[in-house]
């Protein structure tokens, strides 16, 4: 791997920005170059929230990803908006609880994970984002598993330290998908 460019997108509140931060932090712990860039402005209000994450062995140019190697889509508008931008040979993971569509493209690796349902079944409401990130890392090994685990306490705010254990559970469940 030299450079992996990721787009994570969904509704505001689904935790896509948080999930992106986890990947970036894990990359940082692995000693890689990383960047994290949110979309901002009116589009963040109630609509689709997305962020770009780049994990690389070399210095990162633009932190804004326009042709991602990886797309995680947690709602239908995000899936429709970004599916065609994914590089041929890229990886697409959707939360199939939220997105019924399937890609017409055949030149990508596609995974449908009912992450929201899985999270609820396991008493981990709101952690579908973490399940998807874990699934992604299982498939592509972008960062080490240890680093991904170690990134959790770095990303969870002080106010939400009680969520640490749930996040770790979500990582484990995601890796089993």
């Amino acid at each position: 791997m030299s450079t992996i460019e990721m787009t994570l997108a969904g509704f505001g509140g689904q935790g896509l920005l948080f999930a992106g931060k986890m990947m970036a932090y894990a990359g940082l712990i692995d000693g890689k170059e990383v960047s994290w860039m949110p979309s901002y402005g009116p589009e963040m209000r109630g609509g689709t929230a997305s962020c770009s994450v780049v994990v690389s062995d070399t210095a990162i140019g633009s932190p804004i990803v326009t042709e991602p190697d990886v797309l995680i889509a947690m709602n239908r508008p995000s899936f429709l908006k970004f599916i065609d931008a994914v590089k041929p040979g890229g990886t697409v993971i959707i939360d199939s609880t939220m997105v019924e569509d399937r890609p017409e493209r055949t030149d990508i690796n596609f995974f449908a994970v009912p992450a929201t349902d899985i999270a609820e079944e396991n008493g981990l409401k709101g952690l579908a984002n973490v399940i998807l990130v874990s699934k992604l890392n299982k498939e592509l090994g972008i960062v080490s598993d240890e680093s991904l685990k170690a990134a959790v306490p770095k990303c969870v705010s002080l106010r939400h330290q009680d969520m640490l254990e749930y996040n770790k559970q979500a990582l484990e469940i995601g890796a089993q998908q």
Binding site: V34, W36, M37, A59, G61, S62
Partner: protein
């Protein structure tokens, strides 16, 4: 840390205890961070009623001797330009940041570098300059804002951090500078005579034309010293470069990747990155022009830096241009395509409209 947050924290570590803000995208994190931290450290965050009021509060606080800062984005900087002119006219130090967005007018809220002329030519009326620093990483955002406070005090003039929505919003690892221990003395401050000295005056009005000329000429001597000693830049793979890309801030990050890709193809490309936009790093660029064959300016605007490059190299080489504007981000593949054209002996002057709608061709 986000670029904007790193900026705010580093400013605090540089001794800034007064921040006067007004909300505008994409700089709002600076204000938000200040409002969170300042009350806890005995500092002040005050949300002003306008950009105009904010910069004039900065003027008052600076006059009183404090390290003080404000930040905004392009449309707000236009409003602040009045106060910046007064700060310069009264020889008061202050630091302000422009997290640029597309313009003119309300423009867009996406990253841009289209305030280059405004920043480097004249940010307000009158004969004056402000120090302008353009970071290209979150780390450099922290480093340069810290330095900006020192330079502003040293030269008793405003210093601006010219960044953009990309550098401001993105998150990268950053090592923050240590908190400053000792702030410089300011015997000129209007903080009360204590009946121990003649009164200090902060003023930019001189009804006697000759007196004003003397003062402006004297200030220019200070500017000459700055031009001679404060040029900052980074030269990357330029030693043997035939094609030199010139880019600052966000567009320099993108250009660096293109230069690396070109080198892999055996093209002798390099990157010259101005860090101080005023003073512009003329001397180093002129030196590079002795061995380089041609230059390519890459900007997120319509080519506002081209003039400065031409002046720096005394027009001895071609200066080509590639850019995007309005908040559209150039791709390193596009920059690479331009470098390849230059390698083939062609000229490049790509305006964004063409490059966008004809797939990168002229």
């Amino acid at each position: 840390m986000k670029g904007n947050e790193a900026m705010a924290e580093s400013a605090i570590r540089a001794g800034c205890r007064f921040f006067f803000g007004y909300p505008i995208t994409p700089q709002t994190e600076v204000s938000a961070y200040m409002s969170k931290v300042m009350p806890k450290i005995g500092g002040l965050f005050l949300q002003a009623e306008s950009e105009v009021a904010a910069i004039n509060m900065v003027y008052g606080a600076s006059s009183a001797g404090a390290r003080v800062m404000t930040s905004s984005s392009s449309p707000g900087i236009s409003l602040k330009s009045e106060g910046v002119s007064y700060l310069c006219g009264s020889d008061l130090p202050a630091v302000f940041a422009n997290v640029e967005r597309g313009g003119p007018g309300l423009g867009s809220i996406q990253p841009s570098q289209s305030d280059y002329y405004q920043a480097t030519r004249g940010l307000g009326h009158g004969d004056f300059h402000v120090l302008v620093y353009a970071p290209s990483t979150v780390q450099e955002t922290a480093d340069l804002i810290y330095m900006a406070f020192d330079k502003a005090d040293e030269y008793r003039m405003p210093a601006m951090l010219l960044t953009d929505g990309m550098i401001g919003q993105m998150m990268e690892p950053v090592v923050l500078p240590d908190p400053i221990e000792k702030l410089p003395e300011k015997p000129w401050a209007t903080n009360g005579t204590g009946m121990k000295r003649v009164h200090n005056i902060s003023n930019s009005l001189y009804l006697d034309a000759q007196k004003l000329e003397d003062i402006v000429v004297n200030r220019e001597k200070r500017y000459d010293k700055i031009r001679a000693t404060e040029q900052k830049y980074e030269a990357y793979r330029t030693e043997d470069a035939e094609i030199v890309v010139v880019a600052f801030g966000a567009s320099a990050r993108i250009s660096r990747n293109a230069v690396d890709a070109a080198r892999e193809e055996g093209i002798k490309a390099g990157l010259f990155r101005p860090i101080s936009l005023w003073p512009f790093p003329n001397d180093a660029l002129l030196e590079i022009a002795k061995s380089a064959r041609t230059f390519l300016s890459v900007e997120m605007n319509m080519g506002q830096m081209v003039d400065d490059i031409r002046l720096a190299i005394h027009d001895t080489r071609d200066v080509n241009f590639f850019g995007h504007t309005g908040g559209v981000i150039p791709q390193s593949s596009e920059v690479l395509a331009c470098i390849q054209k230059l390698e083939a002996g062609e000229h490049v002057h790509m305006v964004p409209f063409h490059s966008r709608y004809t797939g990168g061709d002229q």
